[in-house]
């Protein structure tokens, strides 16, 4: 039995596995640092989530078959929408946003679940369509995406809404959807953006203004940005040392264990580790892209593309926001930010990727990259 597990472990992708494992463990230390001074037990919860996530990765990798998702993706989509509607009625309101369903032991965040579901759903939709994607198929997929987007956007949670759409766009792009349609679609987005602007909430507008000129309103919206910049910058080359971050310890930095965890890391660990961390996200996402590229199975391939772009974009936006080059939208840093649903979902996605590569390697697929073209 032991031998069997070892054999199995040898077959999975070690780069993806160990990067994910490292990030999960690293998150415990940083959440401890970001919250221990408040005498909070957040890190204990995070340890429980981490252990749980680890089991999810292992079970998803070995005791699961991703192909099953293909047959249920439509029902899962329905379930996700149901949860998002449910949250409107029985959701818990925290800081003015209704995003969670209280399960007693756990605050479920349906938008996080929906992000993953949207990846299987799109992968299934694309892999069962004729490629390159037709305009009609594209519109249908956009329609399916816009329903959860609107539900999430009105929570309000613009960040999660965007993160729901971006992987879908990436998958559509890789599915060979005609470039002129993509450009046209982008133009439409640009044209309607003033309309969107007028519908944005004041705080959302302020966040966008703040990124353009943070010093204009240092105690208001831009406060996060300035404090985050100071925290990261003051970390310098090697950081102030673990548990030594003054910006974070003395409440200058808000939401330091969730959306701004990267600032705490930058402050305490400095450039060396921050750089390493950014590189890890890049390597993780590129590795998953390449796993997808090797696959002949279209469903598995597009799941990989979706997961890879979700990790790439979400990490990028979160870190860019911490570095004050992107507006403050509520987007957690994958694996590192505190939050149970997100961690579990990301672990499941990683498990899924490992499962895809494991199953496909077990069947010792030949690599047909040339034959399957660009998809």
């Amino acid at each position: 039995m032991k031998e069997l597990i070892f054999e199995k472990l040898k077959k999975i992708d070690v780069i993806v596995f160990f990067i994910a494992l490292f990030l999960i463990i690293f998150s415990i230390f940083n959440i401890y640092s970001a919250s221990y001074h408040e005498f909070s037990n957040l890190y204990i919860k995070q340890i429980i989530f981490a252990v749980f996530s680890f089991f999810i990765i292992l079970t998803t990798t070995f005791l699961f078959d991703y192909r099953w998702l293909s047959s249920v993706s439509f029902y899962l989509y329905g379930l996700g929408i149901f949860l998002l509607v449910l949250v409107k009625f029985i959701g818990t309101t925290i800081l003015g946003a209704k995003r969670w369903i209280n399960l007693g032991f756990f605050q479920l965040q349906p938008s996080e679940v929906m992000k993953s579901i949207m990846i299987f759903f799109s992968a299934n939709y694309i892999s069962s369509s004729k490629l390159p994607l037709s305009f009609k198929d594209f519109l249908k997929l956009m329609l399916f995406s816009s329903i959860p987007f609107v539900l999430i956007y009105t929570q309000p949670d613009l960040g999660s809404g965007i993160m729901l759409l971006l992987p879908v766009f990436a998958m559509v792009f890789l599915a060979g959807f005609k470039l002129r349609y993509i450009i046209g679609f982008a133009l439409v987005l640009v044209l309607i953006s003033p309309l969107v602007w007028t519908h944005l909430k004041d705080y959302q507008k302020n966040r966008i203004i703040a990124i353009l000129n943070p010093e204009a309103d240092p105690k208001g919206t831009a406060y996060h940005i300035i404090q985050s910049k100071i925290a990261i910058g003051s970390g310098m080359l090697t950081g102030k040392g673990y548990l030594q971050g003054s910006q974070s310890k003395y409440y200058f930095l808000p939401e330091q264990h969730t959306d701004f965890i990267f600032a705490t890391i930058g402050e305490e660990w400095g450039f060396v580790v921050s750089f390493l961390l950014v590189s890890l996200y890049l390597v993780l996402s590129l590795r998953i892209f390449f796993i997808g590229r090797q696959l002949k199975d279209m469903f598995g391939k597009f799941i990989c593309y979706g997961v890879a772009s979700l990790i790439a974009f979400q990490s990028f936006i979160n870190i860019a926001m911490n570095l004050a080059i992107a507006p403050v939208v509520g987007v957690p840093l994958p694996f590192l930010s505190y939050g149970g649903t997100a961690l579990i979902m990301f672990s499941f996605l990683i498990g899924l990727v490992l499962n895809i590569s494991y199953i496909n390697s077990k069947q010792s697929f030949q690599l047909y990259t040339e034959n399957i073209g660009d998809y």
Partner: protein, 598 residues
């Protein structure tokens, strides 16, 4: 090459991550030092604590000025703004501290315009208790300890000397690294002159604060150092006697100075009228301020050190010394001094129309005989009169710290420069009796007496006896400082002193009022013409047309312990007004045993 979507996306992602790394490098490596400094400032706040200022005592330890702590209610607008609605805040402040939050402060809080604002100064006991009782619901508020200067009732006898304190200007803070904008510094008088002794050193506390301004931990603390206590040379008992005597005389304006001629310590110095020092420091109402500044008796002017007036006959002892020393006359020389003296067509009158007859210098002093001095003065010449005046220290700041203004002593150059005219004999005649262009401060008048009684020593005048040095834990006393010694023959000095004795005790003396003083004493009267003879003819009905009344004095005659000056502005007659005032002062001083100069 065919467009490859996969590698295109990979490249985009790679480039986008390169931006992250570049930004990270910029923030942490290029601007790292900059942000590190901001970060330090962010959470370490330096709080200054004001040191208690030294006390001011009189020479015998009577308390005149001291510090008490008061509390100001301070608010941090940005914290307050985050925790309260303006409406709630108004109710809280009204109920707890009876503060009506005005538009201006509301605006500051709403817009977060200032880092901190003072909501109420000088909280009363109930306010302070309320603050502590309700501190759990007062977020963003704190009490600031502010030292307040208290002047005792005794200090009101000499407000001009003590001066007052206030907050420094920005320029003063920039010049002096030891003070901050919240340090009380001396603005005038002793408070200003000896500010460096009285002012302590501010304490500093480096405190770790969080973003809400809450103190988390004290990193280091430097205790404030209390300022040193100063002991004035003033004897407040004497000062009080002088004040009361002057007040009960009914005269409106003047100055009295008493010094110890052996040390030149100032024992009393009254500039009358006075004002309420405490009120002045704490702030006057507009009407009160206008009343003070508009008062024709100029209570705010320190007449002792900054009023300049013609000395009149009190100048004669100095002219006598000059004439004797220069050999123009001897103590025995008798000169016929009639009712007037003429040079060409100009006639110079004697104040006593009867004239004085053949008199020597001592008698000339006794009778204050103008015509005697006209002749002696002419023989002596302006240059020698000027020389002795300067030797005595008149027109010279013997102690620049306390003498704000000194006499204007005219001579040939002065007249040429200022009036563009040559010096005439008539000018010398006028100068001989202390009239004309000569004008001196009441304090300058002491300079006439002091060298005459102490044998020619020109000393540095002192207004403090010393101070208690907190660091060395010892009393530092000021020793008399001899600036120069005027060489004068003993018999010349004795002659002048005897002449001044005759002023009081002689048959024709002009200050017989002083006879009633229980110790033997001497002096010289002076009645200084303010306007020309013709103008005066209009009668002395208007106060500001009347002559000034002077009296200089020393006592006891054999072994002088006091040298004094009484000046009554527009008091009309030295013998009739100033001398009796001095008599009353000395009588009380000796009767009450106040003169205990050691």
């Amino acid at each position: 090459m065919k467009f490859n979507r996969f590698y295109f996306l990979i490249t985009v992602i790679f480039l986008v991550y390169l931006i992250l790394v570049g930004r990270l490098f910029y923030l942490q490596i290029i601007k790292g030092q900059y942000y590190a400094e901001i970060s330090n400032r962010n959470y370490i706040k330096i709080f200054e604590s004001n040191p208690p200022r030294g006390k001011i005592y009189d020479r015998n330890g009577v308390l005149l000025a001291y510090d008490v702590p008061t509390f100001d209610l301070i608010a941090f607008p940005y914290i307050v703004k985050e925790n309260y609605k303006i409406e709630d805040l108004k109710v809280i402040l009204k109920n707890l501290f009876e503060i009506d939050l005005d538009e201006k402060n509301q605006n500051i809080i709403k817009k977060n315009l200032l880092p901190k604002i003072t909501l109420k100064k000088n909280l009363n006991q109930k306010d302070v208790e309320n603050f502590y009782n309700y501190s759990y619901m007062l977020k963003g508020f704190y009490l600031e300890v502010v030292p307040k200067r208290v002047y005792t009732p005794e200090a009101n006898y000499l407000p001009h000397i003590i001066g007052y304190v206030g907050y420094p200007t920005k320029e003063e803070v920039e010049k002096n690294p030891d003070i901050t904008l919240s340090t009380l510094v001396g603005k005038s008088g002793i408070e200003k002159i000896y500010d460096h002794i009285l002012r302590g050193k501010a304490g500093q506390k480096a405190v770790l604060v969080d973003a809400f301004g809450r103190q988390k931990k004290i990193l280091w603390e430097k205790d404030p150092q209390k300022g040193n206590d100063i002991y004035l040379s003033i004897d407040i008992r004497l000062q009080k006697i002088i004040y009361e005597t002057f007040k009960s005389s009914g005269h409106k304006s003047g100055a009295v100075v008493i010094v110890d001629p052996n040390s030149y310590q100032i024992l009393a110095a009254l500039s009358y009228p006075t004002y309420d020092l405490q009120k002045f420091y704490e702030g006057l109402k507009l009407e009160e301020w206008q009343a003070l500044t508009g008062d024709k008796y100029t209570p705010l002017v320190d007449k002792v050190f900054s009023g300049r007036y013609p000395p009149g006959s009190i100048y004669k002892p100095l002219v006598s010394i000059a004439a004797l020393e220069e050999g123009v006359i001897t103590p025995e020389t008798r000169i016929l001094s009639g009712s007037e003296f003429s040079i060409g067509k100009y006639k110079y009158r004697n104040w006593n129309k009867a004239g004085c007859g053949y008199i020597n210098v001592a008698q000339a002093l006794e009778m204050s005989c103008d015509t005697f001095y006209y002749q002696v003065g002419l023989k002596l010449g302006v240059d020698d009169i000027y020389k002795y005046t300067k030797l005595f220290g008149i027109g010279e700041k013997l102690n620049p710290e306390i003498e704000k203004k000194v006499a204007i002593v005219p001579n040939r150059e002065w007249k040429k420069k200022v009036l563009k005219q040559p010096w005439f004999h008539g000018d010398t005649v006028n100068l001989s009796i202390g009239q004309g262009y000569l004008s001196i401060t009441p304090f300058d008048a002491t300079k006439i007496v002091v060298p005459i009684v102490n044998g020619g020593k020109v000393l540095k005048p002192q207004i403090i006896k010393g101070y208690y040095d907190n660091k060395k834990q010892m009393f530092v006393s000021l020793n008399p400082e001899v600036i120069r010694v005027i060489k004068m023959k003993k018999w010349n000095l004795d002659t002048v002193r005897y002449g001044m004795y005759l002023v009081v005790y002689g048959p024709q003396g002009t200050a017989k009022a002083l006879k009633s003083v229980p110790v033997k004493n001497a002096g010289k009267t002076g009645t200084a013409q303010v306007y020309t003879y013709l103008t005066r003819q209009k009668k002395h009905s208007k106060w500001d047309l009347r002559d000034h009344a002077w009296f200089i004095s020393f006592a006891p005659y054999e072994d002088p312990k006091l040298a004094g000056v009484v000046f009554v502005e527009h008091g009309e007659s030295g013998g009739g007004v100033a001398a009796p005032l001095m008599a009353n002062i000395l009588k009380r001083a000796f009767k009450e045993g106040v003169v205990d100069v050691k």
